[in-house]
């Protein structure tokens, strides 16, 4: 196969794989019991939240604990509009992300201004997330601490997004998951992906190269918020209720990032894998322990601890490393070992600037390896692959 054909095929490989995933998620779950479907709904819901977090974290290294807030926005928007104005939740799937983006703006401004790295951003976004609950409760039309119960119409139509079986919800969530993963894959290949990789690597160099740091940062934050909202819409319709506790309660705040981090930010499918893994593990632990009070939090914590000690980059990050190490000379990966010269195409890493930002790094998907952390030290005059 000649090079051009190979490139053509490779750039569509991902899409084909995604379609295969969608087909599996569409048909396979019909074999599940109602209980299994409910669990799958939960897992897919978490997965979307994880994508939102990992998109932000993977692209720009921003560790945001505020993503559950935007999921809550989705839930509240959907049920509020449904109750008050009879707006179909399908429409809310489009409206909620807009509202989430608007509300994300101040959060983004605060989170990006804080500086000081991932930890301080994490702390600040945690504070913001915790502060949202009392604010939400104070807004009376949103139901206070009770939240909002969706009205159950006498005759259920498709437009109400209320279905007898969880299977339909699974399918909807699966489609959303696949769409988001596809989006992320596209993003990585696009120049935006290169820009964010450049910013992550060296903000000053990126700025010097003409990339609008501030605007791009904000945009990524807003996009991440918009990715989170649909999860809330679907979940709220599934449960027909939304409340501060469901989305912003103590454990809920940390569940999304646990799944996101266990899945890893290196690959778009990371959250999905992480979510499936953790939710089913948590179920099993809960069953095995009988009715042990702390089964769920301990499971989440335990998985997290294991991840931190053994695979700190998450499953997909470790996978990416394995892949990169097995094929160090192929695929245009900005090699993590050595002097950081990309081997394929014309990507040359010069003194600190990803000068290939203009688009000569044609080895599309492998560039994603560049967006994960490696052990390489920063040595002046050479690019550190991020």
């Amino acid at each position: 196969m000649n090079k051009r054909a190979a490139e053509f095929v490779s750039s569509y490989q991902g899409m084909i794989a995604l379609l295969a995933l969608l087909v599996v998620l569409w048909f396979a779950p019909s074999a599940l019991s109602a209980a299994g479907l409910s669990t799958l709904v939960l897992a897919l819901f978490y997965a979307i939240g994880g994508v939102s977090f990992n998109f932000l974290y993977g692209s720009l290294g921003i560790f945001s604990l505020a993503q559950p807030v935007f999921i809550a926005v989705g839930g509240y928007t959907s049920i509020f509009l449904f109750n008050r104005f009879g707006v179909s939740p399908w429409l809310s799937l489009l409206i909620a992300p807009v509202i989430a983006a608007i509300l994300a703006l101040p959060v983004a401004l605060v989170a990006t201004r804080i500086g000081g790295g991932a930890v301080l951003t994490a702390l600040v976004t945690l504070i913001i997330a915790e502060a949202v609950t009392p604010i939400l409760i104070a807004i009376t039309p949103l139901g206070g601490a009770i939240g909002l119960y969706a009205k159950s119409p006498p005759v259920i139509t498709f437009g109400d997004m209320q279905f007898a079986s969880g299977l339909t919800y699974v399918r909807i969530l699966a489609v959303i998951n696949v769409l988001f993963i596809a989006f992320w894959m596209w993003w990585k290949r696009s120049r935006f992906g290169l820009f964010t990789a450049a910013i992550k690597d060296s903000p000053e160099a990126a700025e010097a190269a003409g990339i609008a740091n501030g605007r791009l940062r904000l945009s990524v934050f807003l996009i991440a918020a918009m990715l989170a909202a649909p999860a809330g819409v679907i979940f709220a319709q599934y449960n027909l209720l939304t409340s501060p506790d469901i989305f912003l309660g103590g454990t809920a705040l940390f569940q999304i990032i646990t799944i996101a981090l266990v899945g890893g930010a290196a690959r778009p499918w990371g959250s999905l894998v992480g979510a499936l893994l953790i939710v089913y593990v948590a179920q099993e632990v809960s069953n095995l322990s009988g009715s042990n009070p702390a089964a769920e939090p301990v499971t989440f914590a335990g998985v997290f601890v294991i991840m931190v000690l053994i695979v700190p980059r998450g499953l997909s990050g470790t996978w990416a490393r394995v892949v990169a190490q097995r094929r160090p000379d192929r695929g245009g990966a900005l090699s993590a070992i050595g002097d950081g010269t990309a081997r394929s195409g014309s990507a040359q890493a010069h003194s600190g600037t990803v000068s290939a930002a203009g688009g000569t790094v044609s080895a599309g998907s492998e560039t994603s390896v560049a967006s994960e952390q490696t052990d390489a030290q920063v040595v002046p005059g050479q690019t550190r692959p991020t």
Binding site: V110, R113, A122, A294
Partner: protein, 282 residues
């Protein structure tokens, strides 16, 4: 009268907050690690004090000494883990370790003590009447303890040789190393010290605080806000800011609504950003 009540209660709360914040500012400013689990260690101390009393009828004040040893050991172990992971995977590594610890401690506390809030009402050493209310001596003792410890730390850091080593490490680890300071040891010591402080604070406040497993997160957030206000690495600032926040919280809860206690940390951070739009640095 009402104001006086709120003021006194706020000062006492603030003293404890000061202590927790001093520990946090140490680990943040000197250890250069933002220990997400800092508040969780306070929670561990609280439950330790509770369990010792309920199971073996040992007063929290007697528990202090064994607790000191306990937290010193734990602290050193935790510092090791931070060191290992933090240096290997970068800053995110320390965040992950902190988070992992926080989740783990919350989960284990819930496992052993359940979610139900626990009150330790049995420890009663009398009280002092002021502004029409009786302030429990347990609270006053905790406040004095907090001050003493925070003050002691401050003096230690600013006058002793070891303290100078810590301060040098905080300012510039490389240069400190050149001057013969064993930087890794100093940093580990800072982390250990902060955990000891957190744990002991927890033991002291057990007699008058309602215990829940996830109270660690609340302490973390409050401590962070206080540290931001007082300056990272500034032990004196931590004490003053702690008192201030304690009083403001109490007054806000008393005159406005309890919701303000959740919003106060956010307002502090936002205010800080507005007034000093630069980055939050040590």
């Amino acid at each position: 009268m009402y104001f006086g009540q709120l003021l006194v209660l706020g000062l006492l709360d603030g003293a404890v907050l000061s202590l927790v914040a001093t520990g946090f500012t140490l680990v943040l400013g000197v250890g250069k690690i933002a220990n997400f689990a800092h508040g969780a260690f306070v929670a561990v101390g609280m439950y330790l004090g509770y369990e010792a009393y309920v199971a073996w009828h040992i007063s929290p004040y007697l528990t202090l000494l064994p607790a000191l040893v306990f937290f010193a050991l734990i602290g050193w172990a935790v510092a090791e883990v931070f060191e290992q992971r933090g240096r290997k995977v970068g800053e995110v590594g320390e965040l992950l370790v902190g988070l992992a610890l926080l989740l783990l401690i919350n989960g284990l506390l819930e496992l052993f003590f359940t979610d139900n809030p626990k009150t330790l009402s049995g420890v009663n050493i009398g009280g002092v009447g002021v502004f029409g209310i009786t302030i429990q001596l347990t609270q006053i003792v905790a406040g004095i303890f907090a001050f003493a410890l925070a003050g002691g730390l401050h003096v230690f850091i600013h006058t002793s040789r070891w303290g100078r080593a810590l301060r040098a490490t905080a300012e510039d680890p490389t240069v400190a190393g050149l001057y013969g300071v064993r930087v890794p040891v100093a940093q580990r010591a800072a982390v250990t010290l902060s955990i000891i402080v957190a744990g002991l604070a927890g033991v002291m406040i057990a007699p008058f605080t309602v215990l829940t497993p996830d109270i660690g997160t609340t302490f973390l957030i409050s401590a962070f806000a206080v540290v931001v206000l007082g300056g990272i690495g500034n032990t004196q600032g931590a004490v003053l800011a702690g008192l201030f926040v304690g009083v403001v919280d109490s007054l806000a809860a008393g005159y406005l609504s309890s919701y303000w206690t959740t919003l106060t940390p956010l307002i502090i951070i936002l205010g800080y950003l507005l007034i000093r739009p630069g980055r939050v640095t040590a």
